[in-house]
Symmetry: C2
Subunit: 304 residues, 2 copies
Amino acid sequence: MDVQRLELLRELADRGSVTAVALATHRTPSAVSQQLKVLEREAGLPLTQRQGRGLVLTDAGRALARSATDVAVSLAKATALWDEFRNHASGEVSLVTFPTAGQMLLPGVIKNLGPGLVLNCADEDPELSDFPAFTAEYDIVLAHSMSGQLSWAGRGLKVVPLMTEPLDVGLPVGHPLADRAWVGPRDLAGETWIGVTDGYPFERILHAIEQEAGAHLSMSQRFADLALIESFVIAGLGIALVPRYTSGGGQPGRLVLKPLRGVESQRQIVALMRPDRAERVAVRTVIEALQSEAAKVEQSHTAK
Amino acid sequence: MDVQRLELLRELADRGSVTAVALATHRTPSAVSQQLKVLEREAGLPLTQRQGRGLVLTDAGRALARSATDVAVSLAKATALWDEFRNHASGEVSLVTFPTAGQMLLPGVIKNLGPGLVLNCADEDPELSDFPAFTAEYDIVLAHSMSGQLSWAGRGLKVVPLMTEPLDVGLPVGHPLADRAWVGPRDLAGETWIGVTDGYPFERILHAIEQEAGAHLSMSQRFADLALIESFVIAGLGIALVPRYTSGGGQPGRLVLKPLRGVESQRQIVALMRPDRAERVAVRTVIEALQSEAAKVEQSHTAK
DNA sequence: ACGTCCATGTAGCTAGTCTAAAGAGTTCAT
DNA sequence: ATGAACTCTTTAGACTAGCTACATGGACGT
């Protein structure tokens, strides 16, 4: 019963193909195939099954892969323990983020990391991507979801909430609603909206506003990039839902943010990780830095 | 971070010497020493320390050994899972018992075990032995303790209670107390006792009786073997504390058992295991058989 | 039907882990 | 004190397990 082989099976469960596992583990596909075969012989029952030119796990294989995760977690805990004894968080941590969260949190995090800990960041457009899938490639995945709706719980991933960011209504200066302290769904009935591409969490809030206001919202454009959306709003081409903490960076004073009441309007920013990776000291250190940075951002805004 | 090496460290923590580990793992001491050295180099800090001609773990070493147990447990769970898929409990299980428990439980257990599962039993005299120490050598250790007093909890061992056996007062037929339904501490003040060797749990109950009765008990003999004690009682040389379910096997009808009231008088029979071994399907099967057998014994006596 | 993609066999090499034997330090008894 | 017994360690050499490289055999798409 070898751990390395179990780990290979787990990778196969996550990545879905022998070649992908081989690539990820810096081996040839042949080596992976051989080890899986040995594991299967040891187990005494088929763990994989050919499907087309690919390979899928059997029920038994999936079950074993799941318990392999527990093994990986306890192993990671052991190495974390010994890292703590030497007390230095060693190695590199990789992270993907969607643009706005990265802009808001990462600079502060990287500044506060001690020496010897390297954080490799990348960004991915969230619209076309499946956040959990990135956990195979990166140690930490920054994702967003609507409040409460943890769509990616239950896949065996560790989810660490970082912050809750309100989504405000962005208006150009001089807009009729710009003097109000806040706005409600009914106020927004006649407006033209600058929307975001499908799949974004914003989408659901707009639907909720439509329901509350009892009116259809007209959506003139659909963009993925926040700065682009804001420039349209400032130009008076419509109004938009924008995350409070990350908006207005480009052109301060030219965009007015109004809290939205009557509709749950916030997004939750979370960190997603494979449970074993979450145990690494270096990873935990980064997570803690993210949390404190997130708290700092939230506080600096509520203080205003 | 190799699991085998961690396992070696754990064995060292349990057994206390390189030679013992080597013996237990069917290796030469040299191999063990080398592997521990590698682990130490990987860890970057000393895990062991010479003491006399032996070797002891450092704090870091002990901590790592403890987390190695978690790894072993999750690994054992994984293999158990796959055993369940094949649903047969494979392999051999070793067990030590103290004589009376073995006599009471083991025959019934072995009869009810399915084929392919071999149970290797041994017995050890409990007086001179440290029950937990046997868990290094045997999968299951049958031990007894006073009720509630779990003296060997906290060493990281798994403790499964099997049964609670009352300790009665054994009298020869024709003894003045033989007609009573039960006896109390005061009834026993003037009696001569056949005692057991030091360290036995019986010891404490006798002290409790002394306290309650306010009298010193005279102890004429001290034996370890129950049958021997009983033969002395039957011969009228004294009275004794005997476990209700296991006594009288030799000479039925010649020994009278009276429940003892006013003093907590029972012993708990438990199974002790290393947590990782407790996860093995074969071991779990034996434990279940022990539990059901114990329940059967208890029931057959309360029914009378 | 052909090229492509994926998984799997085969042969040979490398690296890691074992044994065997000798060495160094500690304890105990004579 | 000196040697015998014990324990852990070191060294050198053998063996084995797992890897790469290359070749093979199905499955898909054009």
